[in-house]
């Protein structure tokens, strides 16, 4: 099996990054079982687990689908909003 490189795929997308204005915020020290759900389900692969088993999340690259809010809005996230107007992903094709 060839391991997917999602970051490379996201690299072709157009984003207006809202620096310093995260639209998704995670709790401190998230529950690992909950986090694992998002590791599986986030289409952008933003909920990473590094080689040492440490959770690494950055909302840059978000496709704004809402999956993480639906799955873990109550358990992991302290904030889930759409990015500010005009910010975030911009589908050139859709």
């Amino acid at each position: 099996m060839s391991i997917v490189n999602v970051d490379e795929k996201l690299g072709v997308d157009k984003f207006h990054v809202d620096e310093g204005n995260a639209h998704i915020v995670l709790r401190e020290s998230p529950d690992l079982a909950e986090y694992h759900k998002l590791f599986l389900a986030c289409p952008a692969g933003l909920y990473k687990i590094d080689d040492n088993g440490v959770c690494r999340f950055d909302c840059a690259g978000c496709l704004e689908c809402g999956t993480c809010r639906v799955l873990c809005g109550d358990t992991l996230l302290t904030k889930w909003e759409f990015p500010a107007g005009g910010m975030g992903v911009e589908f050139r094709y859709g």
């Binding site: 496709l63 689908c65 107007g85």
Partner: protein, 428 residues
């Protein structure tokens, strides 16, 4: 006195259709879209069945940026390395009234926005609606960036997540068993290559759905749609089941793309966009309260979507719901009454329309899919095994057909097969 007859939140097909029809009847309409243009946040697999938009804009496919008219429908059952496919080609699929088109939303939605603007609708983009304006218990418009804007009717066309419907208490948070997440690669290929690989003429194309391997054997599936100069390849998985597996969604798409039956179809293609979106797949069970004093809900926000495995619909419902919303708003305007009772004409019209007729007819299907894991892991293997029995010639002593078929059936159990078939047929 309100600033507008209607404020529409969201520039997708439902919102744009509402805006177009209201503006056409000289209503004062403001549509607010958070992306930098209508369509900037929208994506589809996908294919638009033309019938509902055709009613509103006859002959639209002649001028709108559609990709290809679908003349070939395919459904495949896939194992890790094999694929069994039903391939239906018919010019009948392209006949006016029953034709459907692959589309890419950034272009398509901008075109519809242009039509709405030409009728006088005001469309502002790059502005996010933060909240609903409520006065005396009635929706009176929206709040965006600290500014309040008033309208007699507010239309929530803000998509599957509809945070505004949740804020208004018209709907709770989406349950993970009622939504699927889709991920898609848009892969550029020359038109001539697409026409060769998919056996289609210029302007014509294929819609193709897959069960089995693409979703890793879990509830979901793969899709492939041919566009003019690109192929949309993706995977959709029901959230509640996806998280019970062990493969990540991006990995499932990568595996699907590398499947030996799929890889040659996209070989040499260049990834030009990677997108994701939620799909409201709960059917009738997830439709929220559609109307309240001064507001109504249309499109994906209202959960108007049907996935039957061999066909997926949402955009034709979005357009249709926009039409019924516009009619109800115009009636309410005439009566000068924007209460829930008055706007309930929208819900009544929907009940009589193809939208709710279809949602009702297929109301058992989401549950059937969810509770029949063999569709996703079991039947693809059985079909593959059966084909191998039929087609593999290896010089060994042959067996009669009934024995061959019987062996394949055993993999899932004949009784299971019969029961699933009966349940499936009853859910359709």
């Amino acid at each position: 006195m309100s600033d507008f007859d209607a404020i529409i939140v969201g520039g997708g097909l439902a919102g744009l259709t509402t805006a177009y029809l209201l503006a056409k009847e000289s209503a004062e309409v403001l549509l607010i879209e958070r992306g930098n243009f209508a369509g900037a946040k929208n994506m589809t697999g996908g294919r638009l069945y033309s019938h509902s938009l055709e009613k509103i804009l006859p002959g639209f496919a002649g001028e709108a940026p559609v990709e290809r008219r679908v003349t070939r429908e395919k459904v495949s059952l896939m194992t890790g390395d094999s694929s069994v496919t039903v391939d239906y080609f018919s010019p009948g699929l392209a006949q006016p009234g029953q034709d459907s088109y692959t589309v890419l939303r950034a272009d398509f939605d901008q075109w519809l926005a242009g039509r709405a603007e030409a009728e006088g609708a005001q469309i502002v983009t790059g502005i996010k609606v933060d909240d609903i304006l409520i006065r005396d218990g009635q929706v009176r418009g929206i709040v965006a960036g600290g500014d309040e804007m008033e309208a007699d009717v507010t239309v929530l066309a803000d998509g599957v997540n509809s945070l505004l419907a949740q804020k208004l208490g018209l709907r709770a948070e989406l349950p993970p068993q009622q939504v699927a997440v889709g991920v898609k690669e848009l892969i550029a290929l020359p038109a001539s290559v697409i026409e060769d690989r998919f056996q289609c003429r210029t302007g014509e194309g294929t819609a193709w759905l897959f069960a089995g391997q693409p979703s890793g054997g879990r509830v979901g599936g793969g899709f492939l749609y041919t566009n003019k100069e690109s192929v949309s390849l993706g995977v959709v998985c029901t959230l509640s089941d996806l998280i019970a597996g062990n493969a990540t969604l991006p990995q499932l798409l990568e595996n699907f793309k590398r499947h030996p039956a799929v890889a040659p179809l996209v070989e040499g293609g260049k990834l030009i966009e990677y997108s994701g979106h939620l799909v409201p797949e709960g059917g009738l069970a997830m439709i929220p309260r559609l109307v309240t004093d001064g507001a109504l809900i249309v499109g994906d926000a209202a959960g108007f979507c049907i996935n039957l495995g061999y066909t997926v619909r949402g955009m034709d419902f979005a357009v249709g719901s926009g039409e019924y919303a516009a009619q109800a708003i115009l009636q309410a305007k005439q009566a000068g009454n924007f209460s829930a009772e008055s706007l309930d004409a929208y819900r009544s019209a929907l009940e009589e329309s193809f939208i709710m007729q279809d949602m009702r007819l297929y109301h058992k299907f989401p549950h059937f899919m969810e509770t029949t894991p063999r569709i996703f892991a079991g039947y693809p293997e059985m079909a593959s095994d059966l084909m191998a029995q039929l087609f593999v010639v290896d010089g060994q002593r042959p067996q009669p057909l009934y024995k061959k078929a019987g062996r394949s059936l055993k993999t899932v159990g004949t009784l299971n097969l019969i029961l699933d078939a009966l349940r499936g047929v009853r859910a359709l």
